[in-house]
């Protein structure tokens, strides 16, 4: 079956006074219908810009998508007109952003923000849209829905606002939802509520979910497939089990080792990734992780490695010349 979303060689640049920032530098991955895919990476790795590029929400200038294909249900989103794209956003592809306060309109009621989507995309009558909005609030676990519809975003808590965002994303029964750090601004007990809700709803309604996060615990719990990003590229891709238990890229290995674990007694020292993330205006022809990599060899300076089969699992890829010989024995220690 062809994937629901297939991204091939996507490049997004920002022209700044400091030079051209290659924020997304050849990103490729695919998402099957109904699947939850995680994009993991640190600040500046290009994970958010990558997601915004799929939706063509990159402000131009200074940003520009310079190359690649974004095939959604077989059609290349990069070739659509602005009007066609507007029709697609919010109807076939839903979005959930990190900060629900800034992504909701402060001067419109909750009810208006949900019904607007339905009237725009579905041509629903005001009465039908209101009916549907009430049902959606029930779906995302908001009690006392008629009163909530009349309220404004500032009258709700952060967790409640994020539930509203989910309701809006679900309103037109999309095939795909892109969630960019959906729970980073929330407290842990609320985060757990929201994530379980998203998991339950996406499974029940067979919606594919691309979740962008830096939290390795969330990825382990919710993702079927994991893409690790570094310096604008996917450096490793595989099932959650393969990525966590048989990582084949030095960056993934280093990332997993550097996090303190809640379920383990305290160790003497953490094992951080040394050095700083790269300056994206000054990438050379070699592997971008090379300066911080403990496995780097001379070959790593000559070319940028591309994703290739790694490990024993089918569909586990890593972009590393040495992925076959990495020692990960102390990973489970």
């Amino acid at each position: 079956m062809p994937p629901l979303l297939d991204i091939r060689g996507l490049h997004t640049e920002f022209r700044t006074s400091a030079g051209v920032v290659r924020a997304v530098d050849g990103m490729s991955y695919s998402v099957q219908a109904g699947e939850t895919v995680a994009i993991v990476g640190e600040s500046g790795s290009g994970k958010s810009v990558g997601a915004m590029s799929i939706l063509r929400l990159i402000p131009d200038p200074p940003g520009r998508i310079t190359a690649g294909e974004v095939l959604f249900d077989g059609q290349d989103l990069l070739k659509l007109s602005e009007e066609q794209m507007r029709q697609l956003r919010g109807s076939q592809i839903g979005m959930i952003f990190q900060e629900p306060m800034t992504s909701l309109n402060p001067v419109l009621t909750i009810g208006r923000q949900i019904t607007e989507t339905l009237e725009q995309h579905r041509g629903a009558t005001p009465a039908a849209a209101r009916e549907r909005a009430l049902a959606l609030l029930g779906l995302v676990g908001i009690a006392d829905a008629p009163r909530r519809l009349k309220q404004y975003p500032h009258q709700l808590s952060g967790g409640m606002r994020q539930r509203i965002m989910i309701a809006i994303a679900l309103a037109c029964e999309p095939k795909l939802i892109i969630a960019d750090e959906p729970t980073t601004a929330l407290d842990v007990t609320i985060q757990a509520q929201i994530l379980e809700l998203m998991k339950e709803l996406t499974q029940r309604l067979n919606i594919a979910l691309v979740v962008i996060t830096h939290n390795l615990g969330i990825v382990a719990r919710y993702a079927t497939r994991v893409n690790v990003m570094y310096a604008g590229r996917i450096v490793e891709s595989g099932s959650a089990a393969a990525i966590y238990h048989d990582p084949r890229h030095p960056y993934t290995i280093a990332l997993l080792r550097s996090v303190p674990r809640l379920d383990r007694p305290r160790q003497a020292r953490l094992d951080p990734v040394e050095g700083q993330p790269p300056d994206l205006t000054r990438l050379d022809g070699g592997c971008a992780f090379r300066p911080r990599c403990r496995f780097a060899t001379d070959a790593c300076a000559t070319a940028r490695p591309v994703l290739a089969q790694a490990g024993i699992e089918q569909g586990h890829w890593a972009a590393c010349f040495n992925s076959g010989s990495l020692s990960t024995t102390d990973q489970a220690a």
């Binding site: 967790g159 382990a220 966590y244 809640l262 951080p272």
Partner: protein, 332 residues
């Protein structure tokens, strides 16, 4: 200062910090209060790291600010090295401020953008007259930068030229400039990426050993707290609900809120996570303006009984050093 000193370096008893809510422009009148901290007691031994954890609005930061005397507490005592500092005037606090320092969460907003890194670190030494000689002060700045893992050349840079991790190292260097004994670390690694976070955590550990520092470590990330702290206090709506040594608290939590908090954190291992049944605690944290009666956790608590609505549970020592404020723990 002997290391065998049995007396804790810091002892907080019955700390309350209530902020008035006022109304009116010409005639201000108080219409209520926010009970940010409502009867908190704990102690920190010399050389120890005590973790203070909880969700937004639980009062952990306000507790830290009271200890720093950035707030004047409504009630309670804060005994630092034998002196109750809760009622001291700002003038009397000046000498103590050298001994108690702070590292803030956001390394961007806590560094003056118009000052060079060297000036930022040197300023407290100048203000407190620790090093009146300018040349020696600059030498000390370079030494502090090196101690904190930065190149001494950074002294001539501005904060905006540095990454988040580097700025946080500057914040640490500035705190160290006073040769403090006690540092309140308020979410010092929360704004950092995971790979950088581990570097800063290791630095904090190294400094504690090297200079015999004592930390009050305020954070919401439980994994970081488990790694760094010997003992941990869990706060909820202005109160400490559980306090124990780190491994006991994380492996054998007793208070229903602590259990809920720990259960809500997914661990980075798909095998563990995908086999785990997840039942997140329902509801949200109530407002500290009008907190629930009795035990403040009772509206969300899975084991609450009728009496929990009436009386506030006292903290009980259920095992040596393990305190729980819940009447239902250890009953059945």
């Amino acid at each position: 200062m002997t290391p065998t000193d049995a007396r804790p370096l810091l002892e907080v008893k019955g700390l309350r910090m209530h902020f008035p809510i006022t109304e009116g422009v010409m005639t201000r009148r108080t219409v209520g209060e926010v009970k940010a901290v409502d009867g908190v007691s704990f102690s920190v031994a010399r050389g120890e790291t005590l973790g203070l954890v909880g969700e937004s609005g639980c009062g952990k930061t306000t507790t830290g600010r009271c200890i720093l005397r950035l707030e004047t507490p409504t009630a309670g005592s804060i005994v630092y090295d034998g002196v109750d500092i809760a009622g001291l005037s700002q003038k009397q606090m000046v000498a103590l401020r050298q001994r108690i320092q702070v590292i803030f969460q956001d390394p961007f907003s806590s560094l003056n953008p118009r000052m060079k890194i060297g000036q930022i670190i040197a300023e407290p030494m100048k203000v407190h007259g620790i090093e009146p000689d300018a040349a020696k002060r600059q030498a000390r700045v370079r030494e502090l930068l090196t101690i904190c893992g930065l190149n001494a050349r950074f002294a001539d840079r501005y904060p905006h030229e540095m990454s988040g991790g580097q700025r946080q190292r500057v914040g640490i260097a500035r705190a160290l400039a006073m040769n403090p004994e006690f540092i309140v670390c308020d979410e010092p690694v929360s704004a950092l990426d995971v790979s950088i976070q581990a570097q800063v955590i290791n630095l904090l550990e190294d400094l504690r050993e090297r200079f015999g520092l004592t930390y009050l470590f305020i954070a919401h990330d439980l994994s970081v707290v488990r790694h760094l702290c010997q003992r941990v206090a869990v706060m909820y709506l202005g109160r400490i609900v559980e306090l124990a040594d780190s491994d006991t608290l994380f492996d054998n939590p007793q208070h229903p809120y602590t259990k809920a908090l720990l259960a809500a954190v997914p661990v980075p291992d798909p095998l563990i996570e995908q086999g785990r049944v997840f039942r997140p605690v329902q509801g949200e944290v109530p407002s500290p303006i009008n907190p629930p009666s009795g035990c403040v956790f009772h509206p969300r608590c899975p084991i609450a009984v009728e009496s929990c609505k009436q009386s506030r549970p006292e903290s009980r020592e259920i095992q040596p050093g393990h305190f729980v404020a819940c009447t239902q723990v250890g009953l059945s």
